[in-house]
Each structure stands twice: as C-alpha cells, then as structure tokens.
C-alpha cells in the first residue's frame, strides 16, 4: 500500500465513512485512491472553508470525528477559518492536506505554503509527514489525539511523494489519561453540603466528553439550580425544572442574577469565557468555586478555583451523583428563589397577537421551537439571529444546537448543517442564518442540491449586519458604519437558481404556515423571513462590563446608553 492507501485503511479501521474535501494537485494521489474505495463517502463541498465547517458540523451532531481534506496552498489556507472554528470549540477533527513534494519544500514551489507554521495556533497538534513509513502511525496517533482528553483538530500535512510511496507500518505509541482520585469527590460533596445557595454552571464540555446522561442524573439527584453557556444549551434537556437558561452577555436576567447571588459555583466543562462571565472582578463575587474539567490548563486560568477536579467528566459526575442520592441537598428555599427569578426574568415575552404585524426574531424562533420535531438539529450562523435561537428555542439535547461559540464564525451554519445532515440522514436539520452570514457560504447551496439533502434553510433577513448595528446603536452613539445590506440579492430567486424551492414571509400570521410548509416538503427548501431592521437582542451586557449591568429595551434611549458607555 502507498501512503494514500494507508490513509484510507486508517479510515476503514476507525469506521470513518464520511469525509468532506476538495481536490487539487498535491492531494491527487489520495483522490486517486478514493476512486477504488467503496466504504468512504467523499462529500465535495464548493469551498474548502465549507469542507472544514461541514466536518465540524458532522462532529458536533454525531459526537464522532469530523474529517476534511484539501490540497496544498490555497486549499489549505481556505481550510483555516473552519479549523480555527473547531479549535476554539474543541471539536474533534482530522485535517489532511497535500503538500508539495518533499524535495520542493522551501523552494517557493507552485502552491507551496508553510501550512505547519501558519496553523500552529489553531490545532491541538499537527504533523508534517517526512516519510511514508511513519504515516500509518501518525494516522493512528492523530485520530486518537483529536478525540481524547479535550478534543480538537489535528492537522496532517503530507508531501505528494509520501502519498505515492509504498509504506511499511511502524507501531504507534500508546497514550495515557489522568483520573481524579476519590478524596477530591468527598471534598466537593462537603463543599456542596456547606453551601446555602449552590449553582450548577455547565458548558460545551459535557457533550464533548459524551457525559450528557451522567450530567442529567447528577442534575436530577442534586436538584441544583443551573445555568448554561452558549455551548451548554440543551445539557439538562428542556424539562429540567431547575434550569435558568443561558448566562452572560445575552443571557437571561434570572441566570445572571443566580450567578451573582450564589455562594458556591460548580463549573463543569466550561472555561469561564468573557462572553459568559462579563467583567471577571464582579463575576460570582460571593461564591466558592469548584471547577471540573478535562483540561488542566483551564483550571485557575481566569478565576481561581477553591477545588478542581480534573479527569473524565462521566466518572466524576457519577461519583458525585452516588453520594447525593444517599443524602440529598437541603436547598429548597434557594431553589424556590431561583424558580421565581426564572418566572419573571427568563425568556418569556408574550407572542404578538396582531396578525398583520411584522415578524420579530424572537416570535419566529419561539414558533419554530413549538412546531419542529423534538430531535431537530438547528445549525446557526452568527449574529442576532444566533442569540434569538439560543434564547428562545427549547433544546432537548446539546447536540441539537450547533453554534459557533469561541470563534463566532459567520458562514458556519450552512456547511455545519450539511455535515449534521450527513451524520443524521433521518433527522430534521435546519440552518437558521442571517442575511449577512448566509452570503458567506452561499455557494454550498450547490452541495445541498448535488446530494439532495433535505435541509431546511431559514434566513432571518433584517437587511443589515444586525449584531454590529445593535452595538453601533447602543455603544457608538448610533453612528452606523458599513452595516447596511439593503441591496441583498433576491434570496428566493437565488435558491431557485440552485433548484431549491423557496418561500417568502413577512407577517406574523404567515409564520406558522411558512414553517409547516418547509418542514413538510420532501427535500431541501428555503424560507426567507423579512424582519425589522431595528430589532435588538435583549438583554445585553456591554462588552467588558459586569453581568449585573444588563441593558434591556426600556433603556434603549440615547441617554441611558451613554451612561453605559462611560
């Protein structure tokens, strides 16, 4: 077997049957090997960025490794945004690129770029393969590394001659993992029992560790009021009575208030990101902190933990659950208090009953949440629409909510939805996009058509870069700068040009029919939703300010906002 065939052999060994890629000169030996392979489905996207984002969406929705492939030079550089996106959200991904032949590296050869050098900061690890014999072991190690501990993208850059050379497999090195010892668990239990107002704070680490079930059992046994980060949405399921919603910049008042008042914060699988914590000095000011994470470097990184537990989240959570089942926590008063806050400070604005009224983002998303089946996967883009989905859609599982958290990559949603649909062919997969974001990977309409994916595409079109416009309004004295998109294309005609049927709605009384129509249609369909340009996401915390200083619609006047700018 040559190097290229060894790559496919590794795919077979690890049951990797779907990869996203785009061919070119230096990766051609791998594409040649693919011709004879019946077990690996290669999905041809129309831009390498979309290949990486589709692999990311595939991994998020399935919990398995996402794989993307590109050629050297422009192919590799086009992957970068997608790989950075996966890196920031700890998504398990294998990236394979062709490189110019070994002898030409460093000669400024055609389509040569220093891929290893330029991607160091966006990978968990990377390799430049120097000989065909080491390729099989590198494949093994890379596949293991991408998925173990805190997952992340691993990039293998392979010179063309290595792909073509016959290879002898060398043995790979074993890897090790670290477990938390039992005494730490007892200390955590003691701290929980000593607290009067303990709060559970969970993030994307729960599903990354495949610890969803363990988390739910722990949440139920502990009865702790809980908040989630953007990536933790769905952790507790949609029927968790103690759940207060998302915290942070666009979080609920209830969630931010509970963090502010709690006396113990149990942080699990979250990295205390600035969008979630606001100004750190005033974050959870009265709380002792227990931090549970797979990554030692996250502990004490931004906020000192009174106790840290590092290791496999599932076994830690089951360990804690066992103790709490024997003797439940006595925190009924605090639970009641949190439920009251949730009832008054959650995301529960009344529906607009006026049938001819323009559609608002929250009203649309709430309806979508009511109508779409329980196992629907929503892949968002980035902007106001993303926040409305996070606030108003009731997710039952974290893998149903695909959102670019750490990097905030506009253009994520459409290719991520493609990846999610390949991972879950029978599920309803919806991309909720903004008009700006949609145009960043619109070429992927061709991929949807080619593979006849039954994806549902929803564009919440406010004819502007709404999230930027909102911050310009609130924090830059309403001085709008380059956010206008009132010359958007006709999205309905655009979809139809790709042979995808499309529908336009603009009034409140059209929401239900619009959603039902696209969901009932047997194939891909686009729903273009015109919404008001001036709509804002509420509440909002000014970047860098304390989560106590939430601004809502009642403070929309210039005067109030100027005070917040100060």
């Amino acid at each position: 077997m040559n190097g290229a065939q060894h790559i496919l052999e590794a795919f077979h060994q690890h049951s990797i049957n779907t990869v996203f890629g785009y061919p070119g000169g230096c990766i051609m030996p791998l594409y040649d090997a693919l011709v004879d392979d019946v077990d690996v489905e290669h999905v041809l996207c129309r831009h390498e960025q979309a290949c990486a984002l589709a692999a990311d969406g595939y991994a998020r929705a399935s919990g398995e490794l996402g794989v993307c492939i590109a050629t050297s030079g422009p192919g590799a550089t086009n992957l970068i945004t997608g790989v950075a996106n996966a890196h920031r959200d700890s998504i398990p991904m294998l990236v394979i690129t062709g490189q110019v032949p070994s002898g030409l590296i460093g000669t400024d050869a055609f389509q040569e770029t220093d891929v290893l050098g330029m991607t160091l900061g966006i990978v968990k690890h990377s390799y430049l393969v120097e000989s065909a014999d080491e390729l099989p072991a590198i494949m093994e190690e890379a596949i293991e590394l991408a998925q173990s501990g805190r997952p992340g993208p691993v990039w293998i850059d392979i010179p063309k001659d290595v792909l073509l050379t016959e290879a002898q497999a060398l043995p790979s090195k074993p890897t090790t993992s670290i477990e938390t010892s039992a005494p730490d668990l007892f200390t955590a239990i003691d701290m929980l029992r000593a607290a009067r107002k303990p709060l559970l704070y969970s993030g994307g680490g729960i599903s990354l560790a495949h610890a969803e079930e363990a988390f739910r059992q722990f949440a139920a046994a502990s009865g702790l009021p809980s908040v989630v980060t953007l990536k933790g949405i769905g952790n507790g399921g949609k029927r968790d009575p103690n759940h207060l919603g998302m915290l942070g910049m666009h979080g609920s008042r209830a969630a931010n208030r509970a963090v502010d008042e709690c006396d113990l914060l149990l942080v699990i699988g979250a990295r205390l990101d600035d969008r979630a914590t606001g100004k750190l000095d005033t974050f959870a000011p009265n709380a002792r902190i227990i931090h549970i994470d797979a990554d030692a470097a996250e502990i004490n990184k931004l906020k000192a933990a009174d106790l840290s537990l590092r290791g496999d989240l599932t076994s830690i959570l089951y360990g804690l659950t066992g103790e709490l089942k024997k003797h439940p926590l006595a925190i009924e008063e605090w639970r009641k208090q949190c439920r009251t806050w949730h009832a008054t400070g959650g995301f529960n604005t009344a529906d607009n009953e006026e049938p001819l009224a323009p559609i608002t983002g929250p009203a649309f998303v709430r309806q979508l949440s009511r109508i779409a089946p329980d196992d629907t996967i929503i892949a968002c883009d980035v902007g106001q629409h993303q926040m409305w989905v996070a606030q108003y859609y009731q997710f039952d599982h974290p893998r149903h909510h695909l959102s670019s958290g750490g990097l905030g990559t506009m253009g994520f949603g459409l290719p991520a939805a493609i990846g999610a649909q390949f991972a879950n062919p029978a599920s309803t997969v919806i991309n909720v996009a903004g008009d700006g974001s949609f145009m960043m990977n619109a070429q992927e309409l061709a991929t949807i058509r080619r593979y006849n994916l039954p994806l549902k595409l929803i564009i919440l079109d406010n004819q502007c870069l709404g999230m930027v416009r909102q911050q310009q309004e609130l924090f830059y004295n309403n001085r709008e700068s380059h956010i206008d998109l009132n010359d958007n294309p006709d999205f309905v005609a655009m979809a139809r040009a790709f042979d995808i049927p499309a529908l336009h709605i603009e009034r409140t009384d059209q929401i239900r029919r619009g959603i039902e129509t696209i969901l009932a249609y047997d194939g891909p369909m686009l729903l273009h939703v015109a919404i008001a340009r001036e709509e804002n996401v509420w509440p909002i915390v000014k970047p860098g300010a304390s989560n106590r200083e939430m601004i809502d619609e009642s403070q929309r006047t210039r005067k109030a906002n100027k005070e917040h700018v100060a």
Binding site: L116, G117, L120, G121, K124, H125, S126, Y127, L128, E130, L145, D295, A296, A297, I299, N300, K301
Partner: protein, 92 residues
C-alpha cells in the same frame, strides 16, 4: 498578547523543558510562550537524539503557572520544570 514593553512588575522565570525533536517543535513552543504573554530573554537548545532539552529565561506579568500548564498541553512536550530561585521582580 504580544508584549513589546518591559512593565515594571514583570517577573523573571527560568524554565527547563524537554520536547520531541519534531518539525516545528521550537516554533510551537515559542508561539505558546508569546501568545500566553511572556517574552524570551534567553534560550539554550540542546538536541539529544529524539529529544530537545530547552532552557529558557522568560519575562512576563502573568502567572507563570498558567504558562506551565499551557506548555504541558503540547503533545510533544514531555516535561516542564519551573526553576523557582530565578524568579524575581524587575525594578527597572
């Protein structure tokens, strides 16, 4: 973060580290040191078979323990030892 000035409160630290002698090993190490807020004052690298032994003197205002855990996360870094006695605050 890419500090270009020497703040008065910067600490000086000595670190010894071993890592696999792989392609881009030193770039990987230096990149993490830079992005996590430290400057290299001195560096000595000694290639020993498959490994590199690296002695570093670093300067920075952030907690050195944070850099240590970030360096330990690198897949090809074997051991990072903080040599405590070197650490002192600059009074420039």
């Amino acid at each position: 973060m890419n500090p270009t000035t020497h703040p008065n409160n910067a600490g000086i630290y000595a670190i010894a580290c071993t890592m696999t002698h792989e392609a881009a090993a030193m770039e990987r190490l230096c990149q993490v040191i830079r992005i996590r807020g430290f400057r290299i004052v001195q560096m000595a690298v000694d290639a020993a078979g498959e490994n590199l032994n690296i002695a570093l003197t670093l300067e920075g205002t952030r907690p050195i323990a944070m850099l240590k855990t970030q360096l330990e996360k690198l897949h090809t870094v074997g051991e990072v030892v903080l040599q405590a006695p070197m650490a002192k605050t600059k009074t420039a």
